[in-house]
Symmetry: C2
Subunit: 333 residues, 2 copies
Amino acid sequence: MAGVSPTVVSRVLHNKATAIRVSEQTAERVRQAASDLGYRFNILARQFRQQRTMAIGVLHGLSDSRPNFGGDSSYFADLMDGVIDAAFALDYTVAFCPKLLGDSPAMAMADGRFDGLVWYGSTPTEENRKLVMESTVPIVLLHNPSEVFGNRFPSVICDNTQGVDLAVEHLAGLGHRRIAVAVSREDFFNEARTRIECFFKAMRVRGLRSGPSDVIEFGLDLREIHQFFEAGPAHTAVFAVTDTIASRFLDIAPEHGFAVPTDLSVVGFDSTRMCEALTPRLTSVHQPLALMGRRAVEMLNQSIEKGATDPVTLVIPCSFDIRGSTSIATRGI
Amino acid sequence: MAGVSPTVVSRVLHNKATAIRVSEQTAERVRQAASDLGYRFNILARQFRQQRTMAIGVLHGLSDSRPNFGGDSSYFADLMDGVIDAAFALDYTVAFCPKLLGDSPAMAMADGRFDGLVWYGSTPTEENRKLVMESTVPIVLLHNPSEVFGNRFPSVICDNTQGVDLAVEHLAGLGHRRIAVAVSREDFFNEARTRIECFFKAMRVRGLRSGPSDVIEFGLDLREIHQFFEAGPAHTAVFAVTDTIASRFLDIAPEHGFAVPTDLSVVGFDSTRMCEALTPRLTSVHQPLALMGRRAVEMLNQSIEKGATDPVTLVIPCSFDIRGSTSIATRGI
DNA sequence: ATGAAAGCGCTAACAA
DNA sequence: TTGTTAGCGCTTTCAT
C-alpha cells in the first residue's frame, strides 16, 4: 500500500529509520499505511525469527502441582507480586505453564517458549533437580542456595541466619531461656533444616542451652505436639520454622491448658497474612518476598542478556513482626 | 539420523502415526533418534506455523496498572486460582503481559500472542472499552455483564441480586429495619451501582423502607462516614458494597462510641481474607471467585475452539459468611 | 535510500 | 508407507 518493500516497512516500524536510513518521507507514508490498514506485526513470526519471546516462565517445584495464590499463606502471592513487578518493568511477560508442572516439563523448558525461568521451590525432588540441571535456558532459583544445584545458577534466598537470630533475640529479650524449635515432618526441607541449625547457633551465641532434644518434629497426626504439652514442658517458648507450624501450637495449646502467650510464647516464620487471622496474632520473622521475587527476575534478566552470569546467591535480610503471640517469660526464670 | 524426512518425524512425534500411517518400525527408529539427540521441537516455530499459542492472556482493566495478588484483599488471587486451574486443565498457559497493561494493549491483543483473553475489570474506561471491542481474539469478561460491551462477548458475574438479598435477609432476620448502604466514591463502578439497586429491591420486598437518603457515599477523606455517626443514625445496620468499605465502618465506629456489632451491624461483600483479620471479623457476602475464574476460562475455551459463541452472561450464585460483625438489632425495633 | 532473497523450524497438501 | 515442496511473517544480510 505504501509501495515499498517489506524490508522498509520493518525498518520504519522499528524506528531503525535513522540507523538504517529511510527517508522521512517514505517512513511517513509507511506509518500512514500501517495505521490505515490497522497493521500489527505478528509477534509469533517475530519470536520465531528472533528466537526470543520476552517471556519468563515460573516453575513451581513444589509438591503442589500448581501455584496457589489464595489460601491462607499469601506466600506465593507475595512472591509473584515481586516477580511480576520486575518482569513488567523489564518488558517481560510472565507465564504459568501447565506443561512445566504436568507431564513433560523438560520439553517446555527446552522448547524456546521462555527466555528464562524462575524456579521456585523448596525441596527439589531428584527428578526436578535433573530437569533444572539440564535446562537450556537461564534459570534463577528462589529459596534454594546455589550450591543445591551445583552452583550452576544464581539464586535468591532470605537470610535465615539473621532472621532466626531476630526471633531468638526477641525471645531472649523477653527472658526466655528454654526455647523449643518446631518443624513438621512434611516441611522438613532444606530451608527448614537450615533454620534449625541457625536456631542452635543463635541460642549458643547467647549462652542458651539447646540441642536435638529441643526439636519438636511432628507428623500429620500432630501427636508430638500433644506430647510436648502433656510432658509439662520446661520450655517457655517455641520457635516454629513456618507460620503454619506455629499455628498448630496456637490451636493445640489451649486444649492442654496452656495460654499463648502467657504460658507459652510462639514465634513463626514468613509473616504471611495468616498471622493476622490467628488468635492471638502471630509474631513472626518476615521474609521480604516481593523484594526477593523482584531481585530474582532482575538477576534472570542479567543472565538472559549477558549469557551465563556468576551463580551468585543473593541473601536478603529479614525483618521481624511483633504481634500478640509472645510475651515475657513467666516460668523457669 | 533416522534416515527419514522431517515430515515423518513430525508425524511420529505427534503420534499421528496411526492416522497418517507410519510403520511402527520407522516410528521407533525416529523416536530413538529423537531421544538420542535430545531433540525437542521448537515451539515457537510450531506456534508460528499454526498461529495458535495455547496461551491465555489476563487483562487487568483496573486503575491499578498491574495485577495485585497480595495485599489485603485476596480478591485477584482467588480469581486467578480458578483461572489457572481451568487453564491448566485445558492445557493453556496463562500469561500476564506488561504490554496489555502498559503502552499499547491493542498491539498485544492483536498480535497473535494469545488465543484468547480474560478481561478482568470493573470500570472500563472509554479507552479500555474501545480496545476490548476491537479485539481480534475471543474475550470473556469477568465482572461485567455482556451488555456493557454491547453483547459482543460472553461474561461471568456473580449474582448480585441474590447476594445482596442474602445480606438483607440476614439483617432483617436479626430484626434490623433501618439499614444504610455504603459505597465509596472511588468504587462507584457498575457493580457497586448494581448492588445498591439490588439493596433497594431487597428492602422493598421485605416491606422495609430505603431510598437514596440511606446511601452513604464517601470520598477519600471518609468525612461522610464520620457525619453518619455524628448524626446519631436511625440505622442499626450498614450494608457495604465491598469489604474494604465495610472495614472503614469497623475502624471508625469506635471513635464515635459505637460498638460493632452491638450498636451497629456491618455486612461486607466479597468475603475476602480481610474479613478474618478485622475486629470484629466481618460478616460478608461470598462470591465464588475461583469458580468464576474457572468458568470464565471454560467459556473462553469454547469461544476459541468453536469460534464465536453466544454472548452468554453466566450468573453465579453467592453464599453468605456469617462472622462477628452482625447481631440482633438493639435500637429502633 | 531502497529492494531482493534467504531462511528461522515446522506442518500440511500433494505426489510418488 | 514415505518424501517433496511450499509457505506461515518476519528480519537481515547483501546488492543495487
